[in-house]
């Protein structure tokens, strides 16, 4: 029934974090207010926004999708679709849940769902969800009152996964007041949108008519415990933390690791952490417009060996050491045989000496380690990396740049104009798609300068053989795809192209007496937040 995702994910690897004992929540009438300090204000509250928690944190409390991924098990679980099956490689037939109404009173039926899907995935609308669009264009059609067919114009092995991404919102609103769609979400969720005070918060009230209160297969560890939900925007890290410390908020997103450590000594609140699909990596200039010295494999290896990744991870705090590759374990293409790049300064120095003996001008080595200023704690990270490379005798300078400066330097169109350089770009990326394909394409495929539509515009690597193998792998399904991708990942690893620096954990400060369950996608959903005694 479900293609694509790897067996080990389905086998139920424990991917959740929870506080205290297993759920002993008692069903109770919702009361009180749950205030959550979140790290940024949403750009909008449109239905497409639920695909990524960072777009609109907490929006899934109001808008629901067709399918969800259980944070505890990682399994796909029904939400507004009670069942789904493959018709063929490009079509999925889904049964819509009966008896659900939108917050505006309009009924949820196949037509409404089809309208929503077509709206969300429309290329004309060009919502940012397109970054997870498959090879084809997705459309939906009502077959009967409670059944739809979702079709991709090209065969798409991940169509089910894509159906976990978009939200379903009132078709009446889309017809009558489309402009309200972006600031007044009308969904089917356990909370009804209340108001959005720009610059301050958005809030929702508990939905007494939520279908989940009566359905047997409702998602969540509990029914809503809180009468009100308020998501307060606090971009300053310390400000969010302070809100929990002073009792103004029950939860705060992403405390620093030191704040998390401190929480252990506090009675009033705890810190919960868990892995995410976000990783930090460095990409070292290679074939394209790079200083020729970086073509020397010894130099590249020395650079990688000179980085104390464990140390960096410790510095970052809430993070773990990546297994020598980008992406998370559950993704298709993850190569279990790879190991993290070791920290071996002696070997690094030996490699450099060897290269020097062969006439390579080591003194011309001056690697520019550049981060984007929007990356949290980037200044500390690049400084630490600079110090590490300095330690093995690799000259470097570190920089933190604004997107205005940084972005053009990352893309072939911009950096082709730079003199040959020795740049290590530091990026933070998230890859919830569960597949290495897009990642490999955008990071390592040969950018075609004349073809501006290509996805590889920010690659620094060019190898015809690799491109051919990648193209082949992209057409495969299942284990074949997995094996082909794994081979490519290994090739990348051996050529020292990108250095995975950290798999980032995410943490939350949570008031004592509240239990929060979340998965790698870090959704903040009130039905996974319980009051405990």
């Amino acid at each position: 029934m479900i293609h694509g995702l790897k067996g080990r994910l389905l086998s139920g690897a424990v991917m959740f974090a929870t506080v205290g004992m297993a759920s002993t929540a008692v069903a109770q009438t919702p009361e009180g207010k749950l205030v959550i300090a979140i790290n940024q204000e949403p750009q909008d509250l449109g239905a497409q926004g639920i695909y990524k928690e960072v777009n609109a944190t907490g929006l899934r409390n109001v808008l629901e999708g067709l399918i969800a991924i259980d944070p505890a098990t990682g399994e796909m679980i029904p939400v507004l679709a009670t069942a789904w099956e493959r018709v063929d490689g490009s079509t999925l037939r889904m049964t819509i849940r009966e008896g659900v109404t939108f917050h505006d009173g309009s009924p949820l039926d196949a037509a409404a769902v089809a309208t929503s899907i077509n709206w969300v995935w429309s290329p004309e609308n060009a919502f940012t969800i397109q970054e997870y669009a498959g090879p084809g264009v997705i459309t939906a059609e009502a077959i009967d009152a409670m059944t739809i067919e979702v079709t991709s114009s090209e065969p798409d092995p991940l169509l089910e996964f894509r159906m976990t991404l978009g939200g379903v919102s009132s078709a009446v609103q889309l017809a009558e007041a489309p402009e309200r769609h972006f600031d007044t979400p009308i969904g089917t969720g356990p909370y009804v949108f209340d108001e959005w005070q720009r610059g301050q918060y958005w809030s929702a009230d508990v939905n007494p008519d939520w279908w989940g209160l009566t359905a047997d297969d409702a998602y969540g560890t509990t029914t809503p415990d809180f009468a009100e939900l308020q998501l307060v925007f606090r971009t300053e890290n310390a400000a969010r933390v302070a809100m929990v410390q002073s009792g103004e908020a029950q939860m705060a997103m992403f405390p620093s690791s030191s704040e998390c450590d401190r929480a252990a000594d506090e009675n009033a609140y705890d810190c919960v952490t868990g892995p995410s699909t976000t990783y930090l990596y460095g990409r070292l200039d290679h074939s394209l417009h790079a200083d020729p010295i970086l073509q020397d494999p010894r130099i590249r290896e020395a650079v990688f060996l000179g980085l104390d990744i464990k140390g960096l991870v410790g510095l970052i705090g809430l993070a773990s050491v990546p297994q020598g590759q980008l992406g998370t374990k559950e993704a298709i293409g993850f190569n279990e045989d790879l190991s993290p790049y070791p920290y071996d300064p002696e070997r690094a120095m030996a490699l450099l000496a060897e290269a020097k003996a062969d006439g390579v001008d080591i003194s011309s080595l001056n690697i520019e380690i550049v981060g984007r200023d929007s990356t949290p704690r980037i200044s500390t990270i690049v400084q630490a990396m600079g110090a590490m490379l300095q330690g093995v005798g690799i000259g470097n300078e570190v920089r933190v740049q604004t997107p205005q400066e940084f972005n053009p330097r990352v893309r072939i169109g911009g950096y082709a104009n730079e003199p040959n350089r020795q740049m290590m770009q530091i990026h933070v990326k998230q890859n919830p798609s569960g597949d290495y394909g897009l990642l490999l394409l955008s990071n390592f495929a040969c950018p075609e300068i004349d073809d501006p539509t290509g996805p590889a515009r920010s690659s620094v690597y060019c190898d015809a053989d690799f491109d051919a193998a990648l193209e082949a792998a992209m057409g495969l399904y299942g284990d074949e795809r997995d094996a082909a991708m794994q081979a490519l990942v290994k090739a990348i690893h051996d050529r020292h192209l990108t250095v995975p620096l950290a798999l980032l954990d995410r943490g939350y400060l949570v008031e004592s007496g509240i239990e929060f369950t979340f998965g790698t996608d870090h959704r903040i959903q009130a039905v996974y937040i319980n009051k405990v005694d």
């Binding site: 919502f127 610059g199 302070a242 809100m243 205005q404």
Partner: protein
């Protein structure tokens, strides 16, 4: 009257130049579409945005269109705030105009600036006059050091320290946000430090200056009590530099509140500017700067006009030569 019209035209010119500068600088350096969509976006997406936002037109055409829009109150729509889409034709209608987004934030900024000034003005003037009445006395020294401390402190740092002390450690006041009176106390105090200092300093020196003038001797020789000599005779004459400074500080509060708004998550224009900068939302940046510049220019204008009220010789047009 001619003077008033002239000054207003002058201000409009300044505003026009500012808006033009921000527009052109924003266009000339960097690709707004790329910055908005991020380095991972496909060129197609970027080009779509460029097309939809009219960024592919010649700069001059864009400029004329932009200025034309402003004249009708249309500052364009936000690239990102209000709709996270790659703009296409049908969506420019449903997106929120940036001007609305900015104007929505004005009351919060005014409230904060007003609160800070209502502390700073009376306190600053009182400190300044007290010091001036007794130059080189202990009171003068204390006022001098305090007022200089006020202008020497880094505002956002002070804000952070106040949060740690009063909100986190003592729990007396909220850490930030927008709400009732208790929310405004810490940010207003943080913001007031500098204007208190500067108003005290300028009051002190202006009053000292006035106290050395012959008409003060006349007043004393008339038997006017010293309190009245200082607070009525000298202060009235010292009012122009003091009002100028208050105006300067009000301008600074309207723009300089950026940091304090960020630290206290105060949803004013400053916070909006920081957000829009970090999102590279050029239309929003342009509109915010235009609105703030308009406020500042208006404040300057009002200060200018207040001279006419404060100084009879200007009011009666006696300072021609």
């Amino acid at each position: 009257m001619a003077y008033v019209i002239k000054r207003i035209c002058n201000s409009l010119l300044i505003l026009f130049i500012t808006i033009s500068f921000v527009f052109i600088a924003g266009r000339l350096i960097g690709d707004p579409a790329l910055n908005m969509l991020g380095s991972g976006a496909s060129d197609l997406a970027i080009n779509n945005l460029r097309e939809a936002a009219g960024l592919n037109d010649p700069l001059f055409v864009q400029y004329v269109r932009y200025i034309g829009g402003i004249l009708t109150g249309d500052f364009g729509v936000s690239y990102r705030y209000g709709y996270s889409v790659l703009p296409s034709e049908n969506l420019s209608e449903i997106a929120q105009p940036v001007l609305d987004i900015v104007l929505e934030r004005i009351p919060a900024t005014f409230a904060l600036a007003g609160a800070a000034l209502s502390v700073a003005v009376p306190l600053g003037i009182f400190m300044g006059v007290t010091a001036a009445a007794n130059p080189r006395s202990a009171a003068d020294r204390i006022v001098t050091v305090l007022s200089l401390a006020g202008v020497s402190v880094v505002q956002f740092w002070l804000g952070l320290m106040l949060i740690v002390l009063f909100a986190v450690q003592l729990g007396w006041l909220p850490t930030g946000g927008y709400g009732g009176f208790s929310y405004v106390i810490l940010p207003a105090l943080t913001l007031a430090a500098r204007p208190i200092g500067r108003i005290a300093q300028v009051t002190r020196s202006a009053v000292i200056q006035e106290l050395s003038k012959p008409y003060i001797v006349t007043a004393r020789a008339k038997g006017v009590p010293e309190f009245k000599v200082v607070y009525v005779h000298a202060l009235k004459n010292a009012s122009i530099p003091i009002v100028t400074m208050i105006g300067d500080e009000l301008s600074a509060l309207l723009t300089g509140a950026i940091l304090v708004e960020k630290v206290f998550a105060w949803p004013g224009v400053g916070l909006l500017i920081i957000d829009s900068l970090s999102r590279s939302d050029l239309p929003l940046i342009q509109a915010s700067i235009a609105v703030v510049a308009a406020l500042v220019v208006t404040v300057n204008l009002l200060v200018d006009f207040s001279y006419r009220l404060l100084n009879p010789s200007i009011r009666l047009g006696h300072t021609g030569a």
